[in-house]
Structures are given as structure tokens and as C-alpha cells.
């Protein structure tokens, strides 16, 4: 997988290849000769870590890179540099942190890649839900068909428990039943993560073929994207349900 040498070796296409300070050949993020931070370029998170746009990645190796790059780019270690360098250090280390935070998380990584591929994932987001709720609109929720019946049942039970709690009453049997369903939902969430990881393999295989010079049709690309969007939507739906259950149980 990736290591610091791969990151340091290749400047992004179109960038100048020499260090602004000492003029020697330089790496993307800092100069290996004089250690100076290099100007930030508008790159995506995968490019920042010199990674292909694949979804299966070695998180432990990325953590190592993250630490090593932090040791070069962090503002604390550039506090005595000129103001321009300090500004670059701030920009670059924020980009480093943003990239690491996004890519190390399997869900965020997938969402980010889909966004790079031009997919909008807003409709299932928490904000969209809240926004709809507070403006009194009924939000279009795509209930996964295989969950329809269960979800209906669970929502009824949650409503009942909310009512009971408001009245200051309790129903241990109901709480236990909801708790059991919560466990089931959490298991489903796990299963969906595994399903997503299976989709990653397909996607990564496609990217690999492309890298090997075999053309990939836009149709195939779209299909792979859509399948991942579908898994993410189902997972988000369940995550929101679990959140609702937790809210009712904890209040």
C-alpha cells in the first residue's frame, strides 16, 4: 500500500517540481532537501495521500502517513517560519486532517468517493430530516421494502413508549421489546457494512481494470455507483431508526 515515499515522490501533474525555497526537486507537501512546507494545491483527499480512487485501503498505513505528514505540516512545527509559510502550513495541515478524518471512516470514505463521482447523497441526511421536521413538511423517506413491516411496527411501539414516558409511566416489557429490536437493527447495520465492503471490491476491480488500460463503460460505472448509493441509503435509514430508538429509550 501507500507509504511516505510514494507520497513524497510524485508531485501532482501541473505543479512546479522545484522547492520554492531551495530550488531542488521537491515532494508534493514538503521539500525533502530543506524541509519547507510547499504551497497547497486544490487536490482531492485521495490525491493528497497519493492514493488511487479505490475504497479498500490500508487504514493502518494511512495512519502512519498521517503522523509523518503531521510532523512536517503542523502549524506548531512551522511557528517560526515566515507568515506565508505559516499560512501554507495551516492550509495544508487542515487539508491533511480533513482528508484523514474522511478516508479512515468506511462510510465517510464511500460517501466522499461518490460525491467526487458526482452523486448527491443529501436526501437521507440528518439535517435534511431535521429541516423537514421543523418546517412541518413530510420528508420523502425511501423505506427499504424489506423493512417496511418491521419499521411500521417499531414506530408504533416508539410512539406508545413516548406517550407513556410523557405521562410518567413505564412499561418494562415494551422497553425490553424495543431494546431487542434495536439489537436487530444494529446487526442489520453491521450486515450492510459488510455488503458495502463487497461492493468496494467490485468498484476497486473496475478501477484496477481501468488503470490497466481496459476501458470501463459509463454504464458500468453508474451501476456500481448506484449499488453503493442503495446500500448507503438503507444503512442511513437504519441508523436514523437506531437514533430515534436511542432518543426514546434515553429520555
Amino acid at each position: 500500500m501507500t507509504n511516505l515515499t510514494t507520497i513524497t515522490a510524485k508531485p501532482a501533474p501541473g505543479e512546479t517540481q522545484t522547492c520554492w525555497s531551495c530550488g531542488t526537486m521537491r515532494a508534493v507537501h514538503f521539500c525533502e532537501a530543506c524541509g519547507k512546507v510547499q504551497p497547497p494545491a486544490p487536490v482531492d483527499y485521495f490525491t493528497f495521500f497519493a492514493l488511487p480512487r479505490k475504497l479498500n485501503l490500508d487504514v493502518a498505513a494511512m495512519e502512519k502517513d498521517f503522523y509523518q505528514l503531521s510532523r512536517k505540516l503542523h502549524p506548531d512545527l512551522n511557528a517560526r517560519a515566515g507568515s506565508q509559510e505559516q499560512e501554507w502550513s495551516l492550509q495544508k495541515s487542515s487539508l491533511l486532517n480533513d482528508a484523514y478524518r474522511t478516508l479512515r471512516d468506511p462510510i465517510k470514505r464511500t460517501q466522499y468517493l461518490l460525491k467526487l463521482e458526482g452523486v448527491e447523497l443529501e436526501e437521507q441526511s440528518k439535517t435534511a430530516t431535521e429541516q423537514a421536521r421543523s418546517s412541518g413538511q413530510v420528508k420523502k423517506q425511501i423505506v427499504p421494502p424489506d423493512l417496511l413491516e418491521e419499521v411500521f411496527e417499531l414506530n408504533m411501539q416508539l410512539e406508545e413508549l413516548r406517550g407513556l414516558k410523557k405521562a410518567g409511566e413505564d412499561d418494562p416489557a415494551l422497553i425490553e421489546e424495543i431494546g431487542r429490536q434495536k439489537l436487530e437493527l444494529e446487526e442489520k447495520q453491521e450486515a450492510l457494512l459488510r455488503e458495502l465492503q463487497d461492493r468496494w471490491k467490485m468498484w476497486d476491480g473496475m478501477i484496477q481494470r481501468e488503470q490497466n488500460g481496459q476501458p470501463v463503460s459509463e454504464e458500468e460505472r453508474k451501476q456500481e455507483r448506484d449499488k453503493m448509493v442503495d446500500v448507503l441509503n438503507r444503512r442511513n435509514y437504519i441508523r436514523n431508526l437506531v437514533r430515534d430508538v436511542n432518543e426514546v429509550l434515553e429520555n
Binding site: D76, R80, S93, S94, D98, T127
Partner: protein
């Protein structure tokens, strides 16, 4: 040069300290009274001159309307935020405060903003450091509670600037503490720092890995600390006096201060004794007497210290860790001396907490370590790097009054997020953006940070403009915003209206007289301060000679002291402050035994003749507590 010397400052609710890296070890710089802790108390003397620290404490009881403590509680807050504080703290707000204006506190006839009062404390610490180094100091690292929001951080930075200090970094207190601990123990693992101070509580969970201190999660309460325990005991005393004597002390600043001093002493004593006796003189000659056992005290403070449990559990949850996965627990802050607090931490993390470093000093020591890292590092701090997080989510208000979170809490800083905005009507030239901080779903429940107006958007049809707004939280945890209209490539002008805070111009106008920077003034001040100190120690020696303790010294000891006294008197007429200091130091060392003997006899005199009568009186009216009735004499 010496101008590169960076000090570490712990600007605390109760006490403040300044420290620096001496060789491979961080050390606290004492004040001219020889003490490491500078109480965060500011008063105005008879001539309206500011008095800071221990010297200011007497004003709290003598002229409470001219003194202020715990100002940290008011940093970065608005009038509507502090109503609860005003019930318990004798803060006197200026009468002409406008809504949305930065608070101003009255001291005597003058008014000061919280950053200005903090600046006076910072300037005192700066002077202590300058006297210690014999050279000006202009750069500092200042610590803040990890859970401080943007406005509170900005206010702290402003205070530094007003005090004539360039604040190179704001460091979170628990993280600073972990750095101080990390110097000795260079081992990898997960560390939890539990920091319960005078007014704030923080919990931080860090992953320490080959010198990198990576904060994984942080949580806390910026209004929870030892102050709350004091206030509870004060309330009980006021209730007792009102109920039993019909004496209302609530408006009597001097009496409340006298009670406050007594309960603080009692609280501290209860950490080492099974019970204490409160004994306070009330106006009208009565005495308020109450015995408090540790058991009662613990029962009383349980609800307060229980408030630390929620944040700890949340931090663990955010870190994705179980208590047994924590390798080390570190205690920070004076309130962690309370045995009950230690028990609670032990139960919570199922681990004996570390207390090797003085909990009052460890934050300042860590700030000195961070200052050293910023200065380029040394052998001791080689490879050390702090990766901290933002404690609160950053959000934008969207339609329906909902908060759209764009940078989640516990994100490593610096962190950024980019949002795109467009126009709603044809030719619209401005877009208003409301920035929020907090975890709640609705904008009205979050902290308003600032309102921005994007101005000068080129005329376009509705929805055509594409304005890119970049939000960046820097390594101090402070927000920066920039905007650009993408179609025209025009930088949009941003007008920042901080919801709570000083403008640049206001800070500029507050900067304390800049004589600090002039070398000659600095030297003269040193001479004056050294002479004052010499006078103090010479007077103390005169007093010592008349005390019984003097008789216990050997002839040889007396001879040595006399010689050193002569030496000090001799150099005291010259302008060499370093020589004066040396002579003071020598005399100080030479009289250590005398001072000890004097202390011993003072303590035994004070303990004599303390008797108290029992008085059977009715119960107090409001605050229920597990203690017996108070006594009055």
C-alpha cells in the same frame, strides 16, 4: 536573543501561573512574594491603581466593590448568559450595558471588560517572568479549558494582546497537562485527563504514540468547579444566618467574602481531616459556627461532582472506548484533591489515577513544554507534537432554523469545511450567514458565534451565483472564514459581526501602556521592585529579631544573618537590581530557620483560646443539606 523566549501561562479561574522550560525541565516562575500561584484576583487600590494576585486578596474583604475574582467565568459571554452567575458571584456589571455588548465590570468608579481584567493578571505574570529572566518577555502560550467555545478563546487571545503578549498558541488545559506528564513517561497508550479546576471541568482522552499526543475526544462543562462547592457552602451559611438571626447578608459584600474565605479553608482542610469547624465573624459582633464532617461534606457535594460523570461517559463514547481500554488516568486541577472526587474517577475508569505532578501546576508546566515545541524544540521535547480537536461542532443555520453541522466535534484541528451558497432573487448582492457552535439540532439552542454578510456579489439571475465559503478552525480552535464567488472569481467581502467579542479596534485601544517594551523602563522597574522586596525582607527581619524565635538561634546563626543583612543594605543603594536580588536571595536562605521557628510559634498561639458556645437555633430557610444546625456565638 532573549526576545525569543516563550513562556507558558495557565490563566486559571482561581490561580494563574507562568512557567518556562529550564534546560530539559519545565519550571514554574514564582512571583515577587516567592509563591508560584498568583491568585486570579484584581483590585483597584485607593489611587485607582490595579493590584493583582495575593496583594489584591485583602481588598476582597476590605473593599469588595473594588475587587473581582473568577473573572474567567465571564470571558466571551453575553449579559443573557451570566444571569445565573450573578446570583452567586459578586460581579458588579456596568449599568449602561447594551444588549449584545461585551460585558463590563465595575471596580470602584471604573469599568473593565473581562479581557481587560484577565490582561492585568497576564501582565503580572509577564512581569514575574521578566524579573526572573532579567529581560523582557513578549511571547506566550496560554492555556484554556478544552471545552471553551470560539468566543471564550477569542476573549483569551484578546486578553493576551491587551497585556502586550503575542499569543503564539492557545492550548487546551488537559492536553497541556498530558504533555507535562508525557515528558517523564515516554510510553504509548490511551490516557484520560480529568481536569476539575476552580470554575471549569474538562475530560480529554488522548492516544499517545511515539511523541504524538493525539486527542481522540474531549468534553466538559465550562461552568463547573470548586467555585460551585464554595457557593453551596456560602448559600447554606447565608440561609442559616437569615433563618436563625434574621440577618440578611446577601447584599453585604464584606460578610459574604469573609464567609467565602472560611468555607474555602474548610473545604481544603476536609481533604486531609475528618472534620472542620467554620468560625466566621458576622456584622454586629456575632459569630457563625458550624462543624462539618467529611461525610456530610461528601454528601453535600455529590450532586456537583456527579455532573462530571456525563461528560466522561460521552467522551468515552465519542472515542469509541470502554473504560477498561484506558491505560492511564491523570488528575488535574485543585478540586481533584478532594478524596471523593478521586474515588469517583477511580470508579469511573476502574483505575488508580496518577497524581505525581502537582495538580495546580501541571497545566502551566505543560504550557511551557508546548512553548518549547513552538520555539523549535529541545532534546526533551524532540518528536513531541500535539494534535488537538475542536470540542464543539461548528454549524450553519439553514432554512427552518436548523443547524447544519459542517465540522463535527472532536475533529482534529486545524480543520476546514467548504459550503456553497447561492442567491434567492435576481440581482441579489448580499447573502447572510449565521455561524453556530454546539451539538443541538436547532439553531436557537446552539451558541451563536457570528453573523457574516457576503457582500458585493455581482448581479446575476437568482440561483446563478455560486459562492464558496471556507470555514477553517485553526490550531487555537478559533474560526476563520473566507468567501469567493466562483463564476466571477470575485473575492466576496465578509463583514464579521462577532456575537460576543471585542473588535480589533477595541482591543487596540485597550492595550496596556506599552512601557513594558522599553529596555530602560524595564530596568528601572526592576530596580524599584528589587528595592521594595529588600525593604520587605529587612522589615520582616526586624520583626523576627523581636520575636521569641530569635532566642532559639545560635550565636553563629545570628552572626551570619547580621553579615548578610549588612550586605543587602549596602547594595540596596546602588542601581544594580541583579546584585540586590542576589543579596535578598542570600538573606532569604540564611533566615529559613528563623522563619520556620516563627511560623511554629505563630501556629501554636493561634490554636490557643479557641472556644465556642452552643446556641440552639432554628433551621435555615432554603438550601437543604445533611448537616446539623449552625451555631452562632
Amino acid at each position: 536573543m532573549s526576545s525569543d523566549r516563550i513562556v507558558g501561562i495557565d490563566l486559571g479561574t482561581t490561580n494563574s501561573l507562568v512557567a518556562f522550560m529550564q534546560g530539559e525541565n519545565p519550571v514554574v516562575i514564582p512571583g515577587d512574594d516567592g509563591l508560584n500561584l498568583v491568585p486570579s484576583v484584581v483590585a483597584l487600590d485607593e489611587n485607582d491603581q490595579p493590584v493583582i494576585g495575593n496583594a489584591a486578596r485583602k481588598y476582597l474583604t476590605e473593599t469588595p466593590e473594588r475587587a473581582v475574582y473568577s473573572i474567567k467565568r465571564l470571558m466571551g459571554r453575553g449579559v443573557e448568559d451570566v444571569q445565573a452567575e450573578l446570583k452567586f458571584f459578586p460581579f458588579r456589571l456596568a449599568e449602561d450595558l447594551q444588549a449584545g455588548e461585551v460585558l463590563r465590570i465595575r471596580l470602584g468608579e471604573k469599568t473593565f471588560t473581562p479581557p481587560e481584567i484577565s490582561a492585568l493578571i497576564l501582565r503580572q505574570l509577564k512581569r514575574n517572568a521578566e524579573r526572573f529572566f532579567g529581560a523582557p518577555v513578549s511571547k506566550a502560550v496560554i492555556t484554556v479549558p478544552a471545552y471553551f467555545n470560539d468566543a471564550q478563546r477569542q476573549a483569551t487571545k484578546d486578553a493576551g494582546r491587551i497585556a502586550g503578549l503575542e499569543v503564539l498558541r492557545l492550548v487546551n488545559e488537559p492536553t497541556a497537562a498530558s504533555l507535562a506528564y508525557g515528558l517523564d513517561k515516554k510510553q504509548n497508550g490511551i490516557v484520560a485527563v480529568y481536569d476539575l479546576g476552580g470554575g471549569t471541568f474538562d475530560i480529554s482522552i488522548l492516544k499517545v504514540h511515539d511523541g504524538i499526543f493525539e486527542v481522540i475526544a474531549t468534553n466538559g462543562d465550562t461552568h463547573l468547579g470548586g467555585d460551585d462547592i464554595d457557593n453551596l457552602l456560602i448559600t447554606i451559611a447565608i440561609d442559616d444566618t437569615l433563618g436563625d438571626l434574621g440577618l440578611d447578608l446577601r447584599r453585604n459584600g464584606e460578610a459574604v467574602q469573609a464567609i467565602r474565605n472560611a468555607v474555602i479553608e474548610a473545604k481544603i482542610a476536609l481533604s486531609s481531616q475528618p472534620s472542620v469547624k467554620l468560625d466566621v465573624e458576622l456584622p454586629g459582633g456575632k459569630r457563625y459556627l458550624r462543624e462539618i464532617t467529611r461525610e456530610q461534606f461528601e454528601k453535600l457535594i455529590q450532586p456537583i461532582i456527579d455532573r462530571t460523570v456525563g461528560p466522561c461517559k460521552q467522551a468515552l463514547k465519542d472515542a469509541g472506548l470502554k473504560p477498561e481500554q484506558i491505560d492511564e488516568v491523570v488528575l488535574v486541577g485543585g478540586s481533584t484533591r478532594i478524596p471523593k472526587v478521586r474515588t469517583l474517577v477511580k470508579e469511573l475508569f476502574q483505575r488508580e489515577p496518577h497524581t505525581d505532578l502537582n495538580p495546580d501546576e501541571v497545566v502551566a508546566l505543560g504550557a511551557a513544554v508546548q512553548a518549547n515545541i513552538l520555539a523549535g524544540g529541545s532534546e526533551a521535547t524532540e518528536n513531541m507534537l500535539l494534535l488537538d480537536v475542536t470540542p464543539l461542532s461548528l454549524g450553519i443555520e439553514v432554512a427552518g432554523g436548523v443547524t447544519d453541522k459542517i465540522i463535527l466535534r472532536n475533529s482534529t484541528i486545524p480543520a476546514s469545511a467548504t459550503q456553497f451558497y447561492t442567491t434567492q432573487i435576481d440581482g441579489q448582492a448580499n447573502v447572510a450567514i449565521h455561524v453556530l457552535q454546539g451539538e443541538r439540532e436547532l439553531a436557537k439552542d446552539c451558541r451563536s458565534l457570528a453573523r457574516f454578510d457576503l457582500k458585493g456579489i455581482p448581479a446575476m439571475a437568482a440561483g446563478m451565483a455560486r459562492i464558496e465559503v471556507k470555514f477553517l478552525i485553526d490550531a487555537n480552535g478559533i474560526l476563520h472564514v473566507s468567501a469567493r464567488e466562483q463564476r466571477s472569481g470575485k473575492e466576496a467581502e465578509i463583514q464579521v459581526q462577532p456575537s460576543y467579542g471585542l473588535t480589533d479596534e477595541q482591543v487596540e485601544s485597550m492595550i496596556l501602556d506599552s512601557f513594558d517594551s522599553a529596555e530602560e523602563d524595564f530596568r528601572q522597574r526592576q530596580v524599584i521592585e528589587a528595592r521594595n522586596e529588600a525593604a520587605t525582607i529587612l522589615a520582616a527581619l526586624e520583626k523576627g529579631k523581636k520575636s521569641a524565635a530569635w532566642g532559639h538561634l545560635t550565636t553563629d546563626e545570628k552572626k551570619k544573618i547580621a553579615k548578610m543583612e549588612k550586605a543587602l543594605i549596602a547594595v540596596n543603594t546602588e542601581d544594580d537590581y541583579q546584585a540586590i536580588r542576589k543579596a535578598i536571595e542570600a538573606l532569604n536562605q540564611g533566615t529559613t530557620r528563623l522563619a520556620e521557628l516563627m511560623m511554629d510559634s505563630a501556629v501554636s498561639t493561634a490554636l490557643k483560646g479557641k472556644t465556642m458556645d452552643e446556641a440552639d437555633l432554628g433551621e435555615g430557610p432554603t438550601a437543604p443539606h445533611p448537616m446539623a444546625k449552625a451555631e452562632f456565638e
